[in-house]
Amino acid sequence: MGPIARLGEYTLYYLYDLGRMGKFLFFAVRGLFARPFRLVEVLRQVRLIGANSFVVIFFTAAFTGMVLGVQGYYTLRKFGSEGALGSAVALTLIRELGPVLTALMVTGRAGSAMCAEIGIMRNSEQLDALVCMGVDPFRYLISPKVLATLLSVPVLTQIFTLVGIYGGYLSGVILLGVNPGAYFSGMEQSVLNQDINLGIIKSFVFALIIVWVCAAKGFYVHEIRNAGFGAEGVSRVTTQAVVLSSIAVLIWDYLLTALLL
């Protein structure tokens, strides 16, 4: 095959892939409104995606906050403004690190699991079996995961931010001796509603990216090019899903910051 033909073929494949992703999202969202609604499954997924990520999120947030406290302290001290430590730590966490790191942790923990689970179900014909029983796999399987991720990630993000702020307090105030009153009052003055909203919007967008990319990759494991078959196919596609989802989160982080700030 000549280079032009190959380029054409790749272009067509990526267009097809894009269309498939769009279709996937459409069906997944439509499944949210179809009856019967699977409340129990949604709660189970909230536990898997959300509650089980709590410990990871807690430790990541605590140490991220502590590092921010130390780094912020030494940087701000050069300008003699250690008092601004609280607002520096809080703004960084609320606007950037809270949403982004939570999304990356959830991608690694829950997104990969989701992709592998759905991929295995595809390969062992469980999805075909659902279809044959007249059960829409989107409503039954995908939509509860979408809803659970959209519920869990924003909550985890808020937890991350809160824990991170106390981590910064621990290193900045308790260990390095910044004035505790200044830490929190500086925060109160500098953090605006706009910053908090930006963080919340990001957390929802990232949640959607994670569940969309990871679930769709698993769902189409049999059609994804060069992924191989069987267990190998699932493992490759899971890796792809984690990488793609992480990159997409970082790109959208930049875009949302640039657009909304």
Partner: protein, 261 residues
Amino acid sequence: MTMADEAIIELVDVVKSFGSQRVLDHVNLRIPAGRTTVIAGGSGQGKSVSLKLILGLMRPDSGRIMVQGKDITSMRPGELNQMRLNFGVLFQGAALLDSLTVFDNVALPLRERTKLRPTEIRDKVFQGLEQFDLRGHEEKYPAQLSGGMKKRVGLARALQLEPKIMLFDEPTTGLDPERTKEIYRLFFDTQKHFGYTSIIVSHDIPKIFNLADQVVLLNQGKIVTFESPEAIQLSAGSATLDFLSKSMGDVYRSSELEGTL
């Protein structure tokens, strides 16, 4: 059987290829209503693919697939879904949902597709489990079952909605001879009771012929239909025998030697 029998499923000039491999090559097939059709043929000859085409899980490259007089290749997804309610399917690998217990697997079609109350569902499920000798295993997960048990759970699940058409992909592969006989008796009884049309893919030649009203042999993309198992014997010595020994290989010959046909 005569040609006057109404065909509930009809494949008309169906072609199906994967890449350069042509699996079905202008195949024509009529499945008479209320009867049992056995599909036999060597491994990889397209038996499972034929079933998937009939279920609309795959699309043919060309040709029509008529189910109850309607061409499913031109159906919208909603119609296709409705059409599938006529089918009960046993997949080759049973395709049980890994994350559900035996009980929940068998209950799934009832919960999702009927408005039965939980107690009624319970009764029906236990009845089905009883029938397939699975009582006491209802709390187990598919990963904790033997291959034969999975098949039996799959059968119990497929029969729950009392479908008009049953598709069995190798229902007895992996079962011991006693169990196989038992399953055949169940087929016979349930079909008598529900009057469903059944299509059985099987390697269990010649025993499976006892159940067959019509036998279909698949070989190298072509099919030959015999209007009765006896017709196969009658055509012995002709081109058919050639076809048989090619497609069935030693299975057919050794059974012939035993004189069990």
